[in-house]
Structures are given as structure tokens and as C-alpha cells.
Amino acid sequence: MNDLAIAVRHLDATRGTFHLRDVSFELPTGFVMGFVGRNGAGKTTTIRCLLGMLTPDAGEIEVLGQPLPADPALREDIGVVLDHSTLVEDWRLTEVERALAPFYSRWDGARYRALLEEFELDPRHKVKELSRGQAMKLGITLALSHHARLLVLDEPTSGLDPAARDELVSILGDFLTDDGHSVLFSTHITSDLERIADYVTVIDAGRVVDSAPKDELLDAYRLVRGGPEDLVDPDVDFLGLRRNETGAEALVAAGQVDRLSGDLVVDRPTLDEIVVKMGDHR
């Protein structure tokens, strides 16, 4: 088995007026990577490149050990869940299966029906009658019914209530009980990743800001707060520094905390704070 589910190296791509620049990250097989960034940071453009829907200007991409462009059969191993439906809205869920099953050699009709039942999706319902959460579950059902080894989720929790988001995390947990399964989870809601992500790649303005195991990333930075006159040390890089009349706040590399002067509060940042501060810094 190949060690890497996804390898992206020095990827440049253009979509309209938006540019990805020198995007690189690796997702080892059997793990979950959170792909985080603000809206418009480049997450969907990167995912389109990974799925072969967008041709890169430069760089290399490998998915499940195969360099892109690859044989379309590779997509049998990839399940994709997007933040919007890509199915005919007037199809009933039974028709969804009839329409898509012929494309997959490993389609498992029994599993499709079992998952619909498990997720309490009525096969007689039309796609357009599904709630946002139900549509996300249908996407997962389709991906699992053709036995995908890699799940690519693009903003799957966008618009979901906390209970549905929690359920998704639980579903992904079940998917990952097989060591050969991997997940790339793109989101701007970083709290979703706190529990499930093993690796995190932060992207902003088309460039990767950081890519590391989640705990390493969280340990690598500190959130520091001080008075309005603090956080001026010249040999410290203050990321996303915000200063107002009542105080100043910034993210700093953990290794630079010793160089700070003044009466400061130093905390371990959340993923959300890292994403926001890194975005501000750029």
C-alpha cells in the first residue's frame, strides 16, 4: 500500500482571476487532513485539481499513488462530498442509485440501502426534498456505497447545525476504522477539525501557510495578549497583530515566546485563532 493518500507538490493553478501558488502538502494513508482557510482561500480550487477537474499550470499531484492526470478508473476509489448537490434534484433516492451504480464496478446496492436506513433517509424522497444535513448524508452514502478509499469533503458542514456536524464526525470515525481509508476535509469551520483531524493544512490567498500534524501545529504557536503598548519586540514575528486602545493581540511562534517583554497573557491557540491570525498576517 502506498504511504500517501494525497501528495501535492508546488501546485500552481488558475481559476478565473484566482491563482493557487506553490501549494504543497501530503496526507498519509489512514489519516484525516483538515484543509482550512477562509472563504475564497483556494480550498475548492485545490480540490478541483485533485479530482482532475482543473488542469494545473504547474506542479505535481499524486492521488492514491497515481500521478495525475490518471486513468478515470482512479475515481472509483474516491468519494466526493460537496457543499451542494450535484444530482438531478427531481431524482428519488432510488433513482439516484439506478443512475450512478452502473459507473462503479464495486457498487454495493445492499450497502446503499442499509446506509439510507441508518441515516434515516427515505428512498422515496426526492433530492430536492432533502435538508442540508440529509443531502450531506446522501453524499456520504454514495461515497461509501462504491467502497471509496479516499473521501474528499469540500465544506461538507457548511450550513449544518451542530448536531448534524457532530454526526458527520461520527460517520467519518467509522469510515476510518479501516487503515486504508483516508479523508481530506476542507472547511472554514475549524471547530469541526479539533476532534477528528490528524493533519492540518492552512491555506490563505492561494498559498499554503502551514501544513503539519494538528498537535504540532497547535504546539508551534502561542496567542499572546498585552496592553496597547506591548508586542513591539523587534526580534519577534507577530502574526496577525491587532492593536487597539485596550490592548494588543498576536500569534507568535512558540519558540519566540521567551523573547517577549512586558506583562503578557500567553495561551495555546485554537485552530480557529491560528487560521484567522495567519490570514490577517498575510
Binding site: 478515470p72 482512479l74 431524482w91 459507473f103 462503479y104
Partner: protein
């Protein structure tokens, strides 16, 4: 690109349009023989069925646009070219269905109205119908693949109007009714051959162009 992938995509097109247009299909099924009977022209049933199929052939583009099926095609394990060729196969299947239904309706009407069609008439109607269908599809599909249905809908009617305009000009210049028989018109065999070969070549060239245009659009 495999032939099985093309056929699966043609079937996907059938399933995509299946929830829609049922009322229009039913209307065509009733109206085509009814109007042909009223006009006293059995062959009009076939022509109407084919003209209806010509318009219905664009419907998968409309459904795909509305439901973002382009993204779905990108996620399926099929080559992008197969999507374009599959759409052609779907439209040819639609033509065959219209031809079968229109043919049966025309034959039934001809018997009932005691206006039997000669073999020559039948060949002419079928081959000219194919040429019209093929020409319309060949002219419209590249627009849809290049720009998407919503953006290209208006532009895609330009060839239809150009065709109608051309027929009108020829009609005025020759002083002949374009639906009638031209004196000294070429033989039925020649018209049939030109219609079949011309239609097939137009579809082949159009599909090759569509593959390129589609690849550029989804790039």
C-alpha cells in the same frame, strides 16, 4: 474512453431527463398523428416527431446546467470525452425513437387514409428527417459544450434561423414552395445519400469540435 462508458453516460442522460417533459412527450404522441390526419399528410406525423426530438435533444444540457451535473461527470470514473460522445448517442437514440414512433404513426395513417406511401417517399422522408436532425444537433451542440446551456441557449437558435432564412431565400429565388417538389429535382436516391452522408459527416465534425470546446470549458 470505452464504448461501455459512452453507453452508461447515454443512459444517464435518459435518467436525467426522465423526471421532466413527460407532458410534452405525451402531447407530441397525441398531436403528431392528430395534426397529420387533419392536414391529410400522413408523413407529417414522422416529421413532427423528429422536429420534437430535435428540441428534446438539447434537454440534457438544460438539466445538467440546472443541477451542476458537470461536476458530477467530473467525479464519475469516466473520461470527459465519453460525456460528449454519450450525449451524441443519447440524441441519436432519441431520433431513433422519434423515427420509430413517427414511422408507425405515418404507416397507420397512410393505411387509414388510403394514401399509401411509396418506398421512395418513405426513404426521402426518413433521410431528410435525419439530415435535419443531424444538422440541428451538429450546429447547436458545440455552442452548449463551449458555453453551457444557459449562456448558449439564445446563440444556439442562430443556426435554426439561418437554416429557415436560407430555405426562404432559395424558395423566393426559385419561386418554388420549399415543401413541394422541385422540377428537375435530383433523384430520391441521390437526396437520400446526400442526406445520410451529409448528416453523418456533420455530426462527426461537430462531435470532434465539441470534445475540444468542452475540454477548454471545463479545464
Amino acid at each position: 474512453m470505452t464504448s461501455s462508458a459512452v453507453l452508461r453516460l447515454a443512459r444517464l442522460d435518459v435518467r436525467s431527463v426522465a423526471p421532466y417533459r413527460n407532458a410534452q412527450v405525451l402531447l407530441m404522441v397525441i398531436l403528431a398523428p392528430l395534426l397529420a390526419a387533419i392536414w391529410g399528410e400522413p408523413a407529417s406525423a414522422l416529421v413532427m416527431a423528429v422536429v420534437f426530438a430535435t428540441f428534446l435533444a438539447a434537454y440534457p444540457f438544460a438539466v445538467a446546467d440546472k443541477n451542476d451535473l458537470d461536476t458530477l461527470y467530473g467525479m464519475l470514473p469516466v473520461a470527459r470525452r465519453a460525456v460528449v460522445v454519450g450525449r451524441l448517442v443519447f440524441s441519436l437514440g432519441l431520433f431513433a425513437a422519434a423515427l420509430a414512433y413517427g414511422g408507425v404513426a405515418t404507416a397507420a395513417l397512410a393505411t387509414l387514409m388510403h394514401r399509401p406511401l411509396t418506398a421512395e417517399d418513405a426513404v426521402m422522408v426518413v433521410t431528410i428527417s435525419f439530415a435535419i436532425f443531424a444538422l440541428m444537433a451538429a450546429l447547436q451542440f458545440p455552442f452548449y459544450w463551449a458555453f453551457g446551456y444557459t449562456k448558449a441557449r439564445a446563440a444556439s437558435f442562430v443556426p435554426l434561423f439561418a437554416l429557415a432564412f436560407g430555405v426562404g431565400v432559395v424558395s423566393i429565388a426559385t419561386g418554388q414552395d420549399p415543401t413541394g417538389t422541385f422540377p428537375g429535382a435530383p433523384s430520391a436516391a441521390l437526396v437520400a445519400a446526400v442526406s445520410l452522408i451529409g448528416g453523418t459527416v456533420a455530426l462527426a465534425v461537430s462531435t470532434a469540435l465539441s470534445v475540444r470546446l468542452d475540454a477548454r470549458r471545463v479545464r
